[in-house]
């Protein structure tokens, strides 16, 4: 049988992960490890199906926190980065402030934020925001600085106003870099929200992971982890999707 190299590579990958899953499944069964320590994959998948209603409900809670945290990080991060880029004063004040804030371990900030903003949506939204914000600032700054000098001169020769140069040259030239920043920031926002839920919440996937593992319900812990991972992947690819509309890289 002659398969194309691509099909062959795929088969190798699939075979490898199947083997890994089977190794896990039968390793756990034959070694007699207690299922509250490490359940077999079949039990985890069964749990995922059985508990689909609560997992979906908690996923929606976490998704809401991540979504708004990320959106606000982009909505504030991009204009603030533009301000830092164009204003010497902002570069000397706002920028070092953000660098300093970024240096604080945000996990350490979580208890304070829960104290200030309560157990509800707001505190988790802020955690997601804090995790996502800095990569967006940095990538926007990098993108704005990457406008080729020869294109700037070209716009000057065409007598473009500063506003025209900004909107018609700098912003489009920065978009690929901003999108890269968003791709980094999206999974970070998920981590931020889950950390926030760990520290103080009544719901969300982070809360589910914490309560399930606390009560020895390891299968549910794994199932919730799979849900978080899937959510993170889907969110990442829904950001990466926009690359097809921003395909250029400033030469």
């Amino acid at each position: 049988m002659s398969a194309s190299p691509i099909t062959r590579d795929r088969l190798i990958s699939i075979g490898f992960f199947l083997l890994l899953g089977l190794g896990w499944e039968f390793g756990v069964r034959w070694s007699g490890v207690q299922s509250y320590l490490l359940p077999p994959p079949s039990a985890i998948l069964a749990e995922l199906w059985q508990s689909r209603a609560p997992i979906l409900a908690q996923s929606l809670v976490t998704l809401t926190e991540v979504f708004w945290g990320f959106i606000i990080a982009v909505a504030l991060g991009v204009p603030i980065a533009a301000l830092i880029f164009f204003s010497r004063t902002a570069k000397r004040t706002v920028y070092p402030l953000f660098v300093a804030l970024q240096s604080i371990p945000k996990i350490g900030l979580a208890p304070l934020i829960v104290v200030w903003f309560g157990y509800g949506l707001t505190s988790k939204l802020i955690m997601a925001f804090l995790f996502a914000f800095f990569p967006i600032i940095i990538s926007t700054l990098g993108g704005l600085a990457s406008t080729p000098a020869h294109l700037e001169e070209h716009f000057r020769a065409l007598r473009a106003s500063p506003m025209q140069s900004f909107w018609r040259l700098r912003v489009p030239a920065a978009l690929p870099s901003i999108l890269d920043g968003c791709k980094v920031a999206m999974p970070l926002a998920v981590i931020g929200a889950v950390v926030g839920e760990f520290v103080g919440s009544n719901d969300g996937l982070g809360n589910l992971i914490l309560t399930a593992s606390g009560s020895g319900h390891t299968k549910l812990t794994f199932a919730a982890l799979i849900a978080v991972t899937l959510m993170s992947l889907i969110l990442f690819y829904s950001v990466a999707y926009w690359e097809r509309f921003i395909w250029w890289r400033a030469a």
């Binding site: 294109l151 001169e153 070209h154 020769a157 007598r159 489009p172």
Partner: protein, 249 residues
């Protein structure tokens, strides 16, 4: 004939580096003038001074009798790199210069179609720059300058990065456009044969700090085509003379 561009004792220094010495020249209406010189002689800088893109210390440059301080709408600049915006189509790149100037109006559909045809870009209006060959990108760049209908076209080694064949072809197209529109053209180049083939006058510049060492009038019949380079003995004489001036031969 009154000068469109007149330079009087122009000098330019970058830090400690004297780039242009003492440049004086006049360029008349509808003249095709090449500035020829060795690498680093300041010829590109001179063109940027004429365009109002770079400030300078000594002397003065006048365009239509007024001192040049900032880029004028009547001047079109074609850069060494084609400088197209990768996210715009050929059509939008061609019209960019017009769109950026509130005082300018987009050409009529017929005029635009004619421009596209002149440039040999028909059928590529909706393409993006990365889908074009290097020669086509340069034609778009020239078209962008022409769409503004400038009185003067300033060109900084516009075909320098292209292969010889493409370069010859674009030079002929440039010549054809010039013979039709009779704009004033100032072309910076380091190709002697290109300068002779295209120009009415060739200004030869010295090594840095650049000055104009010779103003050579090219009295070859027009319209010209590449056969001139092979068949007209006067062409060879000009090339030899300019080579000597540049210290090549």
């Amino acid at each position: 004939m009154s000068a469109v561009i007149s330079m009087a004792s122009v000098g330019k220094t970058f830090g400690d580096l004297r780039v242009l010495g003492d440049v004086s020249a006049e360029i008349g209406a509808a003249e095709f003038v090449s500035v020829l010189g060795p690498s680093g002689c300041g010829k590109s800088t001179l063109l940027r001074l004429i365009a109002g893109l770079t400030s300078f210390e000594d002397g003065s440059i006048c365009f239509n009798g007024a001192e040049v301080t900032t880029p004028a709408p009547e001047m079109g600049f074609v850069f060494q790199t084609s400088n197209l915006l990768p996210w715009l189509t050929v059509r939008d790149n061609l019209l960019l210069g017009v769109d950026l100037d509130a005082a300018m109006q987009r050409p009529s559909d017929a005029a635009f179609a004619e421009l596209v045809e002149t440039l040999g870009l028909t059928g590529f209006e909706a393409s993006h720059p990365h889908q074009l060959s290097g020669g086509m990108r340069h034609r778009v760049a020239i078209g962008q300058a022409l769409a503004r209908n400038p009185q003067v076209l300033l060109m900084d080694e516009p075909f320098g990065a292209l292969d010889a064949l493409t370069r010859d072809r674009l030079n002929m197209e440039l010549l054809r456009i010039w013979q039709r529109d009779r704009k004033t053209v100032v072309l910076v180049t380091h190709s002697i044969s290109e300068a002779v083939l295209l120009s009415d006058r060739v200004l030869v510049m010295s090594e840095r700090p650049g000055t104009i060492v010779e103003d050579v009038r090219i009295d070859l019949p027009r319209p010209r085509d590449p056969s001139v380079t092979r068949e007209d003995p006067a062409f060879g004489d000009y090339v030899v003379r300019l080579s000597k001036l540049m210290g090549v031969s």
